[in-house]
């Protein structure tokens, strides 16, 4: 029960008494009037405290709601960023080739298949495919081989709907190895196409 409710019977009683007193016309000293002023001040102070407490509570609630909102937006942005990073990583995934070959193996085709929906959903994205070779073979032949490896991947993507003008091809031959050991484990990594996003905004949309 609030203070006001508790006081109500007293107030009513007071009015009743004073009303009766007015009827009987008994001018007794109004002790309750003196108490009423003090009580009134106390009551008003109490009311003020209640009002302030309520206001603070409401403010806190509003602030919590705002913070929740910001957190939800940030989480959503973070989620979009993570998703975009994963999409970018998928676009950038390397495909590899057999020795002296530019044909796409099945695993390379599967890897290219994961890039296609992303490229189709983000039509402002352009990429550069760079072909590479391992150190065996003459450096000059390997430069041509790298160009063909890039061209094969591009043709696969273009045949499946990616606009030709969005894909640039180039070759680094055997000039940019990612490892330098002379063994098949290293060579097989170097026989690759690399994919680089050259334009199209930092955020990629999900397909």
């Amino acid at each position: 029960m609030t203070v006001t409710t508790r006081l109500m019977p007293v107030v009513l009683a007071f009015f009743a008494v004073s009303a009766l007193g007015a009827c009987r016309r008994a001018p007794e000293p109004v002790v309750p009037a003196v108490d009423t002023a003090a009580e009134r001040m106390a009551r008003e102070a109490e009311l003020e405290r209640q009002r302030q407490a309520a206001a603070a509570e409401a403010e806190a609630a509003r602030q919590r709601a705002i913070n929740d909102s910001i957190a939800r937006v940030r989480a959503a942005e973070e989620e979009m960023r993570r998703a975009s990073d994963m999409l970018r990583a998928t676009v950038a995934n390397v495909i590899t080739f057999d020795f002296n070959k530019a044909d796409l193996r099945d695993d390379a085709k599967a890897m290219l298949d994961t890039k296609i929906p992303i490229l189709l959903a983000n039509s402002n994205v352009t990429i550069r495919i760079a072909g590479h070779a391992d150190e065996r073979g003459s450096s000059e032949y390997n430069l041509a081989l790298g160009q063909r490896r890039a061209a094969m991947a591009k043709r696969y993507l273009v045949e499946r709907g990616v606009a030709e003008g969005r894909i640039e091809t180039t070759s680094f031959g055997e000039e940019r190895p990612i490892c330098t050991e002379s063994n098949e484990a290293c060579w097989s990594q170097n026989r690759r196409d690399e994919f680089e996003i050259t334009a199209g905004g930092p955020m990629l949309r999900r397909p």
Binding site: R136, S139, Y141, L145, Q147, E168, T170, S171, G173
Partner: protein, 418 residues
């Protein structure tokens, strides 16, 4: 100690084609003494002459133990003495205000065979001075053996992604400024231009003028790699490979006028790279994988009659590349994989018998010297890629570079003749 006489005993004119002493025949090396030169830079002159004669593999330098015997009156050398130490020729040089005066003595005949005044005004020890001195050595060698030497040549090559060149004797390595990551330097027959290609996006053919430092370039296009430029023997055009999604074909580009490249090979999707002309300009040898793996081919310069040159079989996965046609037109040097590594081979156009020239380490990218006898190539035999020079007649090998990572050498023509 000897006195150089300035008397009229010396003729005033070069007699080219003077042959010293014995009938020259390959396998014999005439002995030659270079007399000390008492002048500033005289020791350097002697050292360069002697080293150039050593490295030619065609002369046997006789180094005297003590001072040479005194010259007799009238400037006559003690020919009998020189005969006993095995010299067929004596080179007697002196420094003049305008250059170097050289008298070549024929020991057997006991006379001066020829004299000449060579201009030499360059600052002593400079790159240009050394270049001119090498030219004198080459002329002296021609007097003795009837064949001009190759001391006044340079070898261009790739180090990192840059084009460098070094003198025949391994000195004076210099870089030439390049417009991008560079490969495959090639000399114009005049020795005054170097072509190369850049790779990556904007791959192009670049022609660098060594006299002026100016460059011109062409071919940069999306989705294209331009590679392996090679000048025609008449110096008027350049053949190179354009690699696209349709394979790599060789194209001919005239250097003058409104030029556009004209296709030469019909590769039908195969890779055709690395052209090298026969010295008469009528045929081209190149690398092609039209059978599924790289082999060396020869075709007419207009692209017709293409046929495999490396028709021999080393088992599965044959891999042959980087042909270079010899200056005498008789044979082609190339690399072939054998036992898992590339080695240098030559094969004559006539007999088509492959000759393996290397076996240690991995050896690639052969390039003929203008004498058609020496070959420079890349070898890993020391553990890093270095340039080595092989005398195909004697089998002598010489390491040309010491700092690692050298590739794709190209031997220059002789720089002008005397």
């Amino acid at each position: 100690m000897f006195v150089l006489s300035a008397s009229s005993a010396f003729a005033q004119d070069t007699t080219r084609g003077v042959r010293i002493g014995l009938t020259y025949d390959p396998g014999t090396k005439p002995g030659v003494v270079v007399l000390p030169i008492r002048a500033p830079a005289g020791d350097s002159l002697v050292a360069i002459f002697e080293r150039d004669f050593d490295l030619s593999n065609r002369l046997a330098v006789v180094r005297l133990a003590g001072t040479p015997p005194p010259t007799a009156a009238g400037g006559r050398l003690n020919y009998q003495f020189y005969g006993t130490v095995g010299a067929a020729a004596v080179v007697q040089a002196s420094v003049t205000p305008r250059g170097v005066h050289v008298a070549l003595h024929d020991v057997a005949k006991g006379t001066v065979a020829t004299v000449h005044d060579f201009p030499l005004t360059e600052a002593p020890y400079s790159r240009a001075w050394r270049h001119a001195v090498h030219g004198i050595a080459d002329q002296v060698e021609e007097w003795i053996t009837l064949r001009r030497g190759i001391a006044q040549t340079r070898i261009a090559f790739v180090r990192g992604n840059e084009i460098h060149m070094v003198d025949f004797d391994g000195e004076q390595e210099q870089a030439i400024p390049v417009v991008g990551a560079a490969l495959s330097p090639a000399w114009h027959p005049s020795g005054q231009l170097l072509a190369y290609n850049t790779y990556g996006p904007e791959s192009r053919i670049v022609i660098h003028d060594l006299r002026t430092g100016r460059t011109r370039h062409f071919g940069a296009q999306r989705n294209v790699t331009n590679l392996t430029p090679s000048f025609t023997p008449d110096g008027r055009s350049l053949v190179y490979s354009i690699s696209t999604e349709n394979g790599a074909d060789l194209y001919l580009m005239p250097l003058e006028g409104d030029a556009f490249p004209r296709r030469v090979t019909v590769g039908r999707g195969s890779e055709n790279v690395g052209p090298s002309f026969s010295p008469d300009g009528n045929r081209i040898t190149f690398t092609s994988d039209r059978t599924g793996h790289p082999e060396v081919y020869i075709m007419d310069a207009d692209g017709t009659n293409a046929d495999i040159f490396t028709a021999f079989d080393f088992g599965d996965q044959n891999d042959r590349a980087s042909p270079d046609w010899s200056p005498d037109g008789r044979q082609i040097a190339f690399q072939s994989r054998i036992d898992g590594r590339f080695q240098i081979f030559t094969m004559s156009i006539r007999d088509r018998q492959p000759r393996q020239l290397t076996s240690e380490g991995e050896n690639e990218d052969p390039s003929w010297a203008p004498d058609g006898r020496h070959l420079v190539f890349v070898s890993t035999r020391t553990g890093t890629q270095q340039l080595w020079i092989l005398d195909t007649e004697s089998g002598k090998l010489r390491q040309l570079t010491r700092a690692g990572g050298t590739r794709l050498p190209a031997w220059s023509p002789r720089f002008g003749s005397r």
